[in-house]
Symmetry: C2
Subunit: 458 residues, 2 copies
Amino acid sequence: MKENKIPYKTYLDESEIPTKWYNVRADMKNKPAPLLNPGTLQPMTAEELAPVFCEELIAQELNNTDPYIDIPQEIVDFYKMYRPSPLIRAYFLEKALDTPAHIYYKFEGNNTSGSHKLNSAIAQAYYAKKQGLKGVTTETGAGQWGTALSMACSYFGLDCKVYMVKVSYEQKPFRREVMRTYGADVTPSPSETTAIGRKILADHPGTTGSLGCAISEAVEVATSTEGYRYVLGSVLNQVLLHQSIIGLETKTALDKLGVKADIIIGCAGGGSNLGGLIAPFMGEKLRGEADYRIIAVEPASCPSFTRGKFAYDFCDTGMVCPLAKMYTLGSGFIPSANHAGGLRYHGMSSVLSQLYHDGLMEATSVEQTAVFEAAEKFARVEGILPAPESSHAIRVAIDEALKCKETGEAKNIVFGLTGTGYFDMVAYQKYNDGEMTDYIPTDEDLAKGFAGLPEVNL
Amino acid sequence: MKENKIPYKTYLDESEIPTKWYNVRADMKNKPAPLLNPGTLQPMTAEELAPVFCEELIAQELNNTDPYIDIPQEIVDFYKMYRPSPLIRAYFLEKALDTPAHIYYKFEGNNTSGSHKLNSAIAQAYYAKKQGLKGVTTETGAGQWGTALSMACSYFGLDCKVYMVKVSYEQKPFRREVMRTYGADVTPSPSETTAIGRKILADHPGTTGSLGCAISEAVEVATSTEGYRYVLGSVLNQVLLHQSIIGLETKTALDKLGVKADIIIGCAGGGSNLGGLIAPFMGEKLRGEADYRIIAVEPASCPSFTRGKFAYDFCDTGMVCPLAKMYTLGSGFIPSANHAGGLRYHGMSSVLSQLYHDGLMEATSVEQTAVFEAAEKFARVEGILPAPESSHAIRVAIDEALKCKETGEAKNIVFGLTGTGYFDMVAYQKYNDGEMTDYIPTDEDLAKGFAGLPEVNL
């Protein structure tokens, strides 16, 4: 073991929990493109968004100017339940890799939702409650977001209707039961409870659902039910805003330790974790105060950054949502059945897409057997069984640390460990049994997805 | 929310991790009765125990005199991976109960084994490695202990053979996969791999196994395989010694906060958690320095303290282990299929049995629907989904807090939250579906178990 002046785990005091979220858009020269009304192709106004989203969340969604937004005390109180989350020095992993690199990870999985999703769920539930709503609707794939929202709604006494992608509903009954324990109403999607669900079932009998389809159902219910709004766990600007608490705490902890990050790594599905983790660091970069290598990691089976197009696209299968400009594989793209359910979305946050487009961050894609190899190594030496999603970041952190071993550089590598894999044991079993396979879409596969991009891009 | 000078979560510094375990036996006037050789009915010597257990662990097992035993640095290093564990002030629960009581819980579930079991697993693996062994064998029921031991063996590069009660092996495939991810060899018990397993299968075709039977198989393999020894996750004196780290950290944290506990509550199966949590408090009580109400909570379906006999009994079904004097329901007692797998053992730690017999602690039993009601309430307000075992302590902590509400007393209630329920969702589903039932054994049921007590008691 190296001599460790820096502790294994750095916990900030409760008094150091941030009281403001950081809005990276305020510091972006090229702002993220606005959401468009799919009918008029004009930027969505707050008024047009009001039937779908909560008022204050719309204000946050459209706010490209204020760098800091106060976190209401009720939310800070809730954050104290599971925050500050630890920044962990990966001494055991460094030793196992025999690398001169210093590896740190911000661990967001030590709460019952099992991931960072709770950071935004509690904020969204709070604003829904404040607006006097009865409840909210949402979709969930792997189930982390649905679980987080169930916990948040239970806390504020809100109804919570979750449309869960049918294949997950059936294959992950335990996530479903956690949501039910928190009082949520969980429906497998597509379902007979919505017009769009009935249409999809008629058109595709026997379908096991998709995230885009579940979004359509949840939005339909929200907009057609008195006192309900729709909430989303990733992609949106407001979500990245709330998740900035991850990066703010990370930066405070690193500053206290006197450590300057060289490389910051996060997995990227819709961008909620990565956008939150990098926010204050990207802010410094945008303001010319510091430089960092920032790396987004996505699955090779769903490579929106690395092989997608930067274009306006539908956010959902039913095409009821506004259009967003983003790196996308097309809303009709169906990724192969990989085991990182949280990284299977066809698009990417508009904020991150713009930053990537402007060359302010890198992206790379990794195959899932390599990801699980890293996950197993990490679990064995660091004692935490990581979520498949988070393990994408672990893979690249390990690769960067091994490069340091070659060059002899003691770089500071920081990555986001977004969650735990306790509900992903089917995937681990596949890996343990040697039955895991990789899949990389062909150019023809991608062309099919791109063919469905809306005409606005022409 | 009450004004909170005391933080929600108190984390000690890494430098405050105890460097010595506390051995409560040293302060006991009436020492726990010794293990007996089932053949000679004489106290087991270190020599007789050597084929089964590791040498240093035998020394700890038989040590009734030294109050403190140094924790080797390698173990302290490993503890830093997940310790110190937080002492949490249950502000949210207090508010929900509207009680003047102050409730604290020591949360041992924030590690991948999901429970406190890792505290002893790493110690036992360390001593096995130090002795130059190739590997260890053990049994596991619900799987927490097996998981913890797998993690510990993986860390020290030891083989780990786990005999998992067949019904758990089949119904809890995910725990099994966590163990496999850590490289353990997991066999459903009873199995064809041992003589005792083959005998049990022949005598009881179709049996789904029991903890006592899995112990017999694990002991047989350890004693008949070169370079292997057997390790156990509860009941034994050495395990309570290692688990004293829970109580030592709890006491340090309470002392720093200036809080004197009035009531200390823990669930009790074999006694590993309760014995560890109460150790330093019981020490003060034994030395006449302070007084505490200490309450053991057990399931009504397996009531060894509250309805058992204080007698010498077999520790395993195969009767290959030494006899232990303890509160027991008889090694042939089969508890009903309750959902707290970790609390289904027929006996209880000799240390705790003696302390209970001497009136130094109380015991109570609770029914599982009441336990899950408490678990759900706790999950919703405190944000942690508790293990069914731990929820026994939650139930009684809530009951005591509600008594405080009646009397207006602001008592300090401390309980042990031993683990998380992420692998217990079948039980939660039963509760969510309203299909959970209670079962209390009749006096006739108990009489059958007592009939199998060995003759030494006559």
